[in-house]
């Protein structure tokens, strides 16, 4: 089965080609069928591979597809790597990808670009699978770039809207900054280890001393790549803007899969990072700052998708924090559970938006529980999961990260728990604003309210079940579980594990920590309940005066404005200078000057062409004379 791995990316690619080429000819039914089936087939193969790997003794398979780059000593094969990490990612990408494809057939049914949408979606799946499967940094980079491209295409799916198109550009440009870091890191890896193949790089790296400056530089650059892709400070502002894309896109790309590529990449390169403690410190600090800041912004957002977007940024911050403190398994556990519940929440939000006739502002919602019972129920499951309330999945993964953070640094832990409180608050705030109280929209919208079709609700139900039960794969020993995930992933993190200290918290401390974080989550849930249900508080409109903190939060800490005035504007001015002075006047001047010079010179020289035959003959004779003189005297 493992030898059939090439089928996994092939199916979405075929789907992309069929849907892309036939988007104007095929009916919506066919397009939807092809799109879903291709991902479903990949999922089936992935499950097969997963099962085989689970029962197999060896945990790492490299399947060469073809020789790709072979120049002198440089040999970069196009090959795939199957190990526990990539097998799990395969399941997430194809599984959730399939659910979201199904969902999209309902959500995008009325859109004119149905075929285009599905071809992009399939292309995304293809590139994401390349990213996950690549057995070296270069193949990974292809996938990395490809998903960036698809993200750009899908954010700007309704490109006739200027704001959406510029959101797409913003995402693309910010990703490029990160990609540059990644690319340089790959070059450095190549010069240092003389290979980009994981199987060659990691054993060599394992023999290096901890804190080696080259390793620190490589990991720092890799982390820059991860920052861009996974929307961390300072490159996180593209992700909220990316909500301009269709909601299934937000769920698939900007919550479940693409944005976790950064975490996947770091988890994959865990040996390099383990040996660069300075970088890990930076990773954890940036993760911490991001999780707190994004959570603080999320509490005052009124757009339902923006809340979820900042929530995603915040949760990604948790994952980076986990990576930073060496909890690779925990971070990846959170990737999995987050993929479940955030995809669920986005799809639920999409269902709400669908029902509300494309209304996204929560101030105009309310009381939707009766009209959308299924959506409400499933989203509630997602909310409880993300808030970290047991026994739903988010609790286990978040708690594992928090336990490692506590061991690493108590202050970090405090901040992370405060972040968890924020998380619980803004999520329940969103739920109450949307589903409780009375309807605040127009009568037209109220009239139109309806539960979504089965194609949209079935994925919601499946994801809700996963969100509720997904935590079971990683029940820690302290709660009487075997932590299957940790055992399964152990081969991947083996070397790192041997170089770091294992978790040494005693069970009492762990119980206390769990109790504290759950209490914090429950408290802020209660506060949200009191504020938005009991008091019926509705967020004020834009013009209302707010307190300093509220204003900072509502305006997203003015980050966009700061970037605009400190980075965009100076760059604009600089570009303007280069454009007008250097390029227009300087380079164009020289080039055009040569052209003009040639024209002017020809203008005068062409007068030699008098048309007088006698003159021509005279010149000819002169030429012959010159030649004769030359041959005679060899001047």
């Amino acid at each position: 089965m493992i030898n059939l791995v090439w089928l996994i990316p092939l199916f979405p690619l075929l789907g992309f080609l069929i849907n892309g080429l036939g988007r104007n000819m095929l009916s919506k039914t066919v397009v939807g069928f092809v799109g879903c089936l291709s991902v479903m087939a990949s999922f089936a193969v992935s499950v097969g591979i997963f099962l085989e790997l689970n029962s197999s003794e060896t945990k790492s398979f490299i399947i060469p597809i073809f020789d790709w780059i072979s120049a002198g000593t440089v040999k970069i094969p196009f090959s795939f790597l199957i190990d526990p990490l990539s097998a799990l990612m395969l399941l997430i990408v194809t599984g959730i990808g399939f659910l979201i494809h199904v969902y999209s057939t309902g959500y995008m049914n009325h859109d004119a670009g149905f075929g285009k949408f599905f071809s992009y979606l399939n292309l995304f799946i293809f590139f994401m699978l390349l990213l996950v499967l690549g057995s070296n940094y270069v193949v990974m980079f292809i996938g990395w770039e490809g998903v960036g491209l698809c993200s750009y295409l899908l954010i700007g799916f309704w490109f006739s809207n200027t704001a959406y198109a510029s959101a797409a550009k913003k995402a693309f440009i910010m990703n490029r900054i990160g990609d540059l870091g990644f690319l340089i890191a790959v070059f450095l890896i190549f010069t240092t280890f003389n290979s980009v193949e994981f199987a060659n790089v990691f054993p060599q790296a394992a023999n290096m001393v901890s804190g080696d400056s080259t390793l620190i530089l490589i990991t720092a650059l890799l982390f820059v790549g991860a920052i861009g892709k996974s929307a961390q400070i300072p490159l996180f502002t593209w992700l909220p803007d990316a909500m301009a894309g269709p909601t299934p896109v937000s769920a698939l790309i900007h919550a479940a899969t693409m944005v976790t590529a950064g975490i996947y990449m770091i988890a994959r390169s865990n040996i390099l990072f383990t040996l660069a403690p300075e970088t890990l410190a930076v990773v954890s600090i940036i993760g911490l700052a991001t999780l707190l800041m994004a959570a603080a912004i999320a509490v005052s957002q009124t757009d339902i998708k923006k809340v979820l977007a900042y929530s995603t940024v915040s949760q990604l911050g948790y994952m980076f924090l986990g990576l930073g403190v060496g909890a690779y398994t925990g971070a990846f556990f959170h990737v999995i559970t987050h993929a479940f519940f955030k995809a669920l929440l986005f799809l639920g939000a999409g269902s709400v938006i669908h029902a509300m006739s494309n209304e996204q502002d929560m101030r105009n919602m309310g009381g939707l529980r009766k009209k959308l019972p299924l959506t409400f129920l499933t989203m509630m499951v997602g909310t409880i999961a993300i808030a970290g309330i047991p026994p739903f999945s988010g609790f286990f993964s978040k708690d594992e990260i928090l336990a490692h953070v506590y061991e690493h640094n108590k202050v970090f832990w405090m901040i992370a728990v405060i972040g968890a409180m924020f998380t619980s608050f803004y999520m329940f705030r969103m739920m109450y604003l949307t589903f409780n109280g009375s309807f605040r929209g127009t009568t037209d919208q109220e009239h139109h309210l309806h539960e979504s079709p089965a194609s949209m609700t079935i994925p919601l139900i499946v994801l809700a079940v996963l969100s509720a039960l997904g935590g079971l794969i990683g029940i820690p020993a302290v709660l009487g579980g075997g932590h299957w995930l940790e055992n399964f992933l152990a081969p991947v993190f083996e070397v790192s594990k041997s170089k770091t200290n294992a978790l040494t918290l005693d069970h009492t401390t762990e119980y206390v920590l769990m109790a504290l974080s759950v209490t914090a989550a429950l408290l802020s849930m209660l506060y949200a309940y009191v504020r938005y249900v009991k008091q019926g508080h509705i967020p004020a409109n834009d013009r209302t005066d707010r307190g300093l903190l509220a204003r900072l939060s509502y305006n997203k800490f003015y980050i966009d404005q700061v970037y605009h005035s400190f980075i965009t504007r100076p760059l604009d001015t600089l570009s303007g200078f280069f454009y007008k002075t250097v390029d227009k006047a300087g380079i164009d001047g020289i080039v055009n000057g040569f052209g003009k010079g040639a024209v002017e010179a020809s203008k005068s020289f062409r007068l030699l062409q008098t048309g007088m035959v006698g003159f021509y003959i005279f010149m000819m004779v002169a030429g012959i004379l010159a030649l004769l003189f030359y041959s005679m005297y060899k001047i």
Binding site: G614, F618, V621, A622, I624, L625, L628, F629, S631, M632
Partner: protein
Amino acid sequence: MSISLFYFVAFLSIFFALLVIFAKNPVHSVLYLIVTFFTFTVHYILLNAQFLAIVNFIVYMGAIMVLFLFVLMLLNLNEGSMGSKSNLIKMIGVIAGMCLIITLVGSARVLTASEPLVLQTQELGLVKNLGKVLFSKFLLPFEVSSILLLSAMVGAVLLAKKEIKRA
């Protein structure tokens, strides 16, 4: 008969050649050219190139020069209607030509000291001898030259005939 015959004929050649280019009337030019060619025929005889002498006499002096005269008559040119080149251009032309003579003569002098011309084989330029060479070694060029003449004939007719006005 002595060597001086050559020099006498050579002098005549140069003299008539000069007259060709300096004669005002083109008809006179043609006539002087005929004389010049005749002196060339004499040169050929002196070199015992009898075949060439005859061909020169018949083809050049006969056919080609008659063609020239014929065209001149056909065109009915009168020199008056067509001013000659300005004196400046004439001067420049003459100077350039003189330069050419000087250069060419100068380059000729670079050659090794000249030896007297000696006719080793009396039959060299005779028709029989040349005919043998022409029809053995140079058979193909000879045949090709017939095609050349044919195409020239067709071309000349095509160029010179009046355009038929389409009704």
